[in-house]
Symmetry: C2
Subunit: 404 residues, 2 copies
Amino acid sequence: MIDAGAVIGRLRETDARSGGRREAWTEPWAAERERLDAQARAGGGAVFVQRDSFANAWYVLPGETEETVLVGSHCDCVPGGGWLDGILGVHAGLGVLAAIAAGPTPRRTLAIVDWADEEGTRFGRSLLGSSAATGALTAAELDGLAAADGTPAAAIVSAYGFAPSALGHPEPRLRPVVAAVELHIEQGGTLERQGQAVAAVAGCLGVRRSRITLHGVAGHAGSTPMGLRADPVRAGAAFIGELFADAQEHGGLATVGRIEAQPAITTAVPARCVLDLDLRHEVLGELQALDARADRLLARDRAVGSERAALYAQDPIEFDPALVAAATAATAGTAAIAAPVGEPIRSGPLHDSAALAQAGIPTAMLFTSSSGGVSHSRDEDTPERHLVAGIEALYRLVRTLLRD
Amino acid sequence: MIDAGAVIGRLRETDARSGGRREAWTEPWAAERERLDAQARAGGGAVFVQRDSFANAWYVLPGETEETVLVGSHCDCVPGGGWLDGILGVHAGLGVLAAIAAGPTPRRTLAIVDWADEEGTRFGRSLLGSSAATGALTAAELDGLAAADGTPAAAIVSAYGFAPSALGHPEPRLRPVVAAVELHIEQGGTLERQGQAVAAVAGCLGVRRSRITLHGVAGHAGSTPMGLRADPVRAGAAFIGELFADAQEHGGLATVGRIEAQPAITTAVPARCVLDLDLRHEVLGELQALDARADRLLARDRAVGSERAALYAQDPIEFDPALVAAATAATAGTAAIAAPVGEPIRSGPLHDSAALAQAGIPTAMLFTSSSGGVSHSRDEDTPERHLVAGIEALYRLVRTLLRD
């Protein structure tokens, strides 16, 4: 059986050493990865510690066949991030590896992967290592990335063993993978509200992200009757009000994380209002309908013109149904908690698992609850018994998959 | 009769020399004022050219009595401003002065005043010279003012003849003033929409200006169902939508010139939304009701908390009814245009005349139309025949007042 308490102890030790400072392609991140290597090697000679061409760390326990069960997550974090996002899946995976390695050789091979740069905080590109491994990240895309100070991403990642020249060639270790699973915190409040410790994840919401510029007519705050103004802030407010109500009614998510009036003069009707819109839905048709509704609402206002530039688009990702069912079954009957087996939930955030699923690899995830739904913050937390339930569910799931 | 064409010629010459660059307390502004002095002196020995203790320029034609009719405006402009805002009233006033000086000594004294720093662009304090002259500007307030580079306002204005030590002592030249009038462009589109060249101004709208901070709960754009979010941008949009509709319904003006989500992350529900709200109405009770409605709307949202800090408050200013009637009469029957005599309108922007009215001096204004309502821009314009109508109306009004 897996020692979930030991996994949680290692999470706390890691947080004490490098918590909130393990941004990808930095020394604290690289140092923590060397510690993970040492920990995996200490587990016994049967485990191979390797890096692929994209700085992803592989911890492999060969089975009777090359068919591979992959357990992945990431040890990098956002600056000031919490003690669980990503690193939970890595330490839980290494805990599972140690438990399996202590027993007889499994039928299938087990690979724990610490994907490089899931968060994308350095270059604004999430899922960097996993997307490189699946072949989705192109050399042209990497060439377009740079750090805030202008240093090209290629120069920075090369210093940590990432080979830009290998881009476009999917990582061969992925070929024999028959199942990929990941344990992560939810980063939302659904499980907490439902009173669940852990749940399987059926897929990731689709995303349509755009920058909208509303063009009005600037003027003095004391002039022009309200009915004759072309006020881009008022138009933006009406747009947000209607679109958000529509998203809520149809089970989607709509967020404006950035909004700005230009020029920002307290006593003037602004000339422009710029806002970033993030739309999400689990059903592609609904996502497209919400996106089209945004266009219609923008076109409706004749006094205020608008432009809309796409920033990012990702269709909804469905994880493998059989694997999701197996993950759901694995959440039942943990030793630590009488957890009700709930319906699989959807992930709003993207994860490395999404990159694998998009590449056609059978994939599923497990989420533990997030206290208050808080993440990307030092306040991020999960009740310890929920972590135990998640770690044990991952162990049960992997054992089942290794025998299939 | 006044030579309106000559006044317009001087406006164009001034604009060619220093257009858009006559910010108060700069060399282009001071140089233009010396030219105005020379122009006034060239009109004949009967006119005294003086500066008061607050750098306001006085051009005085003594009458049979000390009772004074004051014609004021300002020759400073906002950076990149137009060819009419403020300087129209100064050149028109000097044109009136020249026309009156060419005739017999008037019964009352005529004073043209070029108020210093109406725009307030250097220190963020509008109506500086006129407020100093009425005694409304205190030494403590001046001490709190500084230029963007941190230089104290007192140091800058002293170099142009403004004596901070005189603050608190109303300018003696104001004591015998029995009527103060000002010709200005409307800076709004009301006259243009009504097909009017010129109109009397009954008063200035009252203002309530505040900074509102909405406090929500930050979260990932992919997490938390819409109905469970505490989204400060959505709350701000609803607030703007309802309050602006209320302002429109009740004949007021509501403007949000600044709005900002914090932190500005495209993929996150923001923690806060900060917006500046400017409310205006001509009726004090309606202004107060609109202001109270803003408080009620903010208090209604229980998920999103709010703070509201007052930035500026000015009750509506009523100009002198008899003087407004005289100004209205003066707009009838100009030589240049068969202008319909319209109802007096209200000024949304404040003017030096507001400072005089607040000090209890009988005051009124005349507005000419503004093309497209555009001002504080190089595109600012007024049809030349409307300018002629305004200049001639000012002349008729002043002649009447000098004889009263």
